[in-house]
């Protein structure tokens, strides 16, 4: 069997396992774009589920569609209470395309539903293109099987082999499958070595191992079953290569008082003879997704609070994505949601008609009014912090100026504000407060001074103050630092290299704790020592960009600060 065939075989097994008892696995996360391979997968899934309900949903669904609500038409017609069924009320498997676009709110609702309903499962199609574009982790954590179809060509993805009779037989045998205590220990150990923190993962892996054993008609979980569980459940969740596990465990101080650890080692080693950890780890190593490192980097950047400067969510009543309407008063630019208002008024009609004796008209009272609400992204404020010290200052400032003007040229469509801080000599200057005006920018930036020491901390401090101001005005600030040097002037303006570096680090940490996303661009010809460390302290990506011109600069900033 070739590697591709083996992979497709695992996909086939995953679908078969899932079909045995969908709800116990939470579901499947499938990374795949729309295409014939995915169609084959879906067809196989349908065949395997064999009549169990499979319903499609959308990545942005209203609460009413999820939980059901008052069926007004039927209620009014019959005079008795009728409710519509929500998607989550009915048992079955939900099919979610474009799962990478699911909002945290919906993800949390689905996650709760998966936890609480014993007959609900979810198949999420993750169509993300970038490593950072992924199904929300609240959902991923609960979906046992993680499958990646992006590598499969159509030629090595034949129709899935689904044998309904064999599945029915395996389903009957599923509850009889036993798991040896060593196998449980094995799964947990492998999960820990792969850096899988969540305790749901090993449980789900056990469920998969059981299903796999049932499929092969066995009554006991054997090594191949564990291997499949590791491949489908644990390897895709890995956050570290297993080789590093040993050193990792050594150099981090063990958090709980660990007298037990030394005794454990000899204890666990002999007991796992039956299922050697190494074999499983070796298998896991081969199955860890190739883009693990890219994903880890993306995950790390994503961890910075408040996203990456795409603009924080804000609720308004004029524009943006519609939210459920709320009770409110008209005026102040609020718009009436007529349908919601009538829905609210409807149950009162019988009462009000009785009270007023007027049965001919619809009675609407002030308390029935419902106001439309929208969620919009707030404007971005990109603050450029430019190193104007040293010899190449003029060139760098010119580049920054070019980038600012290019960003502003598109600012109307993107709702970007741009600010510029330059630091040189003993301190920093705000050359341009946050603005969208191209004219003002051109005038202000016509002549720029350069040369002198590198007061990096002072520049960052000025940027932080600007960021605070921008936040106060309802914008979402982010900071792009352009430099090629190391800090050599401290906050007080004195030339003291050690103190300067310390101040710069402190300010970088400050920025991170304030949750201001950023980007560090190294304009030096060779990577500057220590600058990537500073970026890490800022919680910002580090981007070497030697000989950047305005165009590549604006593109880089735009790309880095747009999720």
């Amino acid at each position: 069997m070739s590697a591709a065939e083996a992979r497709w075989h695992s996909v086939n097994l995953a679908v078969a396992c899932f079909a045995l008892d969908p709800a116990s696995f939470g579901g499947i996360s499938v990374r795949a774009r729309v295409g014939p391979v995915r169609d084959r997968f879906e067809a196989g899934l349908k065949a395997a589920l064999d009549g169990l309900p499979l319903r499609r949903m959308a990545p942005s669904m209203s609460d009413e569609a999820l939980y059901g609500g008052l069926d007004l038409t039927a209620t009014l017609e019959t005079g008795a209470l009728h409710r519509t069924h929500g998607l989550l009320d009915l048992p079955g498997t939900l099919l979610m395309p474009m799962a990478e676009r699911v909002e945290p709110g919906l993800a949390a609702r689905l996650a709760t539903a998966l936890d609480q309903h014993e007959d609900l499962s979810l198949v999420a199609f993750d169509e993300g293109a970038e490593p950072g574009e992924r199904t929300p982790s609240a959902l991923l954590d609960r979906l046992a099987l993680h499958i990646d179809l992006t590598e499969h060509g159509l030629s090595d993805a034949p129709d899935l082999e689904i044998n309904a009779a064999a599945l029915a037989e395996a389903r009957a045998g599923l509850s009889k499958v036993k798991v040896a205590p060593e196998a449980v220990a094995e799964i947990v150990t492998v999960a820990a070595r792969l850096g899988v923190d969540s305790l749901r993962a090993p449980l789900l892996a056990l469920a998969v191992a059981r299903a796999s054993a049932a499929l092969s008609g066995a009554e006991q979980v054997e090594e191949p079953d564990l291997l499949l569980a590791v491949e489908l459940v644990l390897a895709p969740r890995a956050t570290q290569m297993p080789e590093q596990a040993e050193d990792h465990a050594d150099d981090t101080p063990p958090p709980p008082p660990s007298e037990s650890t030394p005794e454990d080692q000899p204890d666990t080693e002999p007991s796992v003879d039956e299922f050697p950890t190494d074999i499983l780890l070796e298998a896991a190593r081969a199955m860890i997704p190739v883009d693990l490192l890219a994903r880890l980097a993306a995950g790390k950047v994503n961890r910075t609070p408040s996203g990456l400067g795409s603009g924080a969510k804000r609720t308004g009543n004029r524009r943006g994505r519609p939210l459920p309407p709320r009770a409110g008063k008209l005026g102040g630019g609020a718009r009436l949601d007529l349908v919601a208002t009538l829905r609210t008024a409807a149950p009162w009609q019988t009462i009000r008609r009785k009270l007023t004796g007027d049965a001919t008209r619809i009675h609407v009272r002030a308390s029935d009014l419902r106001i439309r609400r929208y969620q919009e992204a707030s404007d971005r404020a990109i603050i450029f912090v430019v190193d104007a010290s040293g010899s190449s200052a003029m060139a760098r400032l010119a580049e920054a100026k070019g980038a600012v003007e290019l960003l502003l040229a598109e600012a109307y469509a993107r709702r970007d504000h741009v600010a510029l801080v330059a630091f040189r000599g003993e301190g920093s200057d705000v050359l341009l407060p946050p603005t969208r005006s191209l004219v003002q920018t051109k005038r202000r930036l016509s002549s720029l001074p350069g040369g002198g020491g590198t007061p990096l901390a002072s520049g960052l401090k000025a940027a932080l103050e600007l960021a605070g101001l921008a936040r106060g005005k309802g914008m979402t600030p982010s900071i792009a630092l352009l430099t090629d040097g190391r800090a050599n002037v401290d906050l007080s303006g004195a030339a003291n290299r050690a103190q300067a570096a310390e101040d710069a680090t402190t300010m970088a940490r400050f920025l991170r704790s304030e949750g201001v996303p950023g980007l560090v661009i190294d304009t030096g010809l060779r990577p500057t020592k220590g600058l990537d460390g500073l970026a890490q302290e800022m919680g910002a990506p580090y981007l070497p960009l030697p000989r950047a011109d305005g165009r590549s600069l604006s593109r880089a900033v735009d790309a880095a600060l747009t999720p």
Binding site: G105, A192, D197, L199, T350
Partner: protein
């Protein structure tokens, strides 16, 4: 899991580790006045499991059978209720879920639509707050809750009363509940106003020790395989804990706290720079509940030391220049003050 007999939730006593979380929940069961628990932490650490287990663990309450707000005496039943059954019965302590998608109407209660449409009667249909009275209100993913629902909860939690005013419907009823919130900080911060309302806050993380992890998986797996017999195995432990809680409730009013302890509370809060006096009060209450639970006659520094992190860590001002987490900061100050 698919047993027809509907087994109970995962037993509270069977939860491995997570001692701080379990302790905080037990303390609120002893003294509801402590004011709720906030559990923040990683996914899959048993936050929800603990709350569900707690529901099954708590002793029953005496309540009027027909009362929608679980009143203890007939005289407490709100006047809008037509009491069909005035007998006092033992009900399980209510632990009510507040789902993220809950509408305002569902939370505070609203017009009974069926009666309004079919009979043209104005009647009140109690909401989640009514059902949670004298019990617990549990919000999973509390940091994703809509702002207007949060405001409403704060208001009710503060006053202990739920008031609904709408066109001839003027309803009020007692709504005293212990708020339990859980969430994952990576998905969003909580507003300081709401943070402050929680008496205790706990940070949970996945256990790092391999044996502990294996233990967790084994127990959970055993529960999933055969919940009935697993619950039966742990019945004894749960009953013992329940008895200790009931006992501690009785002993609570007699637990003494001398001036030195109160001074310690104040010194701790001043050293940490926590806003307002809520910190001191909660710290003292929690320490007293712990003393009652431990069977001690008076509050000692031992109790303070154990509850200080939960009672104070969410009340610190954010200090961006201090790298250490708030837990470490509290522990540091506790070391300095209490020695």
């Amino acid at each position: 899991m698919k047993d027809m007999k509907r087994p109970g939730p995962f037993p509270f006593s069977a939860i491995v580790g997570q001692d701080e979380m379990k302790r905080a929940m037990v303390l609120t069961a002893i003294d509801g006045g402590i004011g709720g628990v906030l559990v923040f932490g990683d996914r899959g650490t048993g936050k929800s499991t603990a709350v569900r287990g707690l529901a099954a663990l708590l002793p029953e309450i005496d309540a009027v059978a027909g009362c929608p707000v679980n009143s203890e005496f007939v005289s407490d039943v709100p006047d809008w209720v037509t009491l069909l059954d005035a007998n006092t019965v033992a009900k399980p302590t209510p632990v009510i879920d507040l789902p993220l998608g809950a509408t305002e109407d569902r939370v505070v209660g609203a017009l009974d639509i069926e009666k309004a449409l079919t009979k043209g009667e104005k009647a009140f249909e109690p909401g989640l707050l009514a059902r949670a009275n004298r019990g617990y209100l549990y919000i999973d993913e509390v940091n994703l809750l809509e702002d207007h629902i949060v405001d409403l909860l704060l208001d009710v939690a503060q006053s202990g009363q739920n008031v609904v005013e709408r066109e001839g419907l003027s309803i009020r009823h007692a709504a005293r509940f212990v708020l339990v919130g859980s969430g994952n900080p990576e998905e969003g911060e909580l507003r300081p106003q709401l943070l402050d309302r929680f008496g205790l806050s706990v940070e949970v993380e996945s256990p790092k020790d391999l044996d502990v992890r294996i233990d967790v998986i084994r127990r959970r797996d055993a529960y999933d395989r055969d919940a009935l017999s697993f619950c039966a195995d742990w019945d004894g432990a749960d009953a013992e804990l329940r008895a200790r809680i009931v006992d501690a409730r009785k002993r609570l009013p007699t637990v003494e706290a001398d001036d030195a302890i109160i001074r310690d509370c104040a010194t701790l809060c001043v050293a940490l720079g926590s806003d307002g006096l809520r910190g001191e009060l909660t710290l003292l209450r929690a320490a007293r509940a712990l003393a009652a639970f431990d069977g001690d006659a008076e509050v000692s520094r031992k109790h303070l030391r154990l509850v200080a992190p939960s009672a104070l860590r969410h009340r610190l001002r954010r200090d961006p220049l201090d790298e250490a987490g708030s837990t470490t900061r509290v522990m540091r100050v506790v070391e300095e003050v209490l020695g």
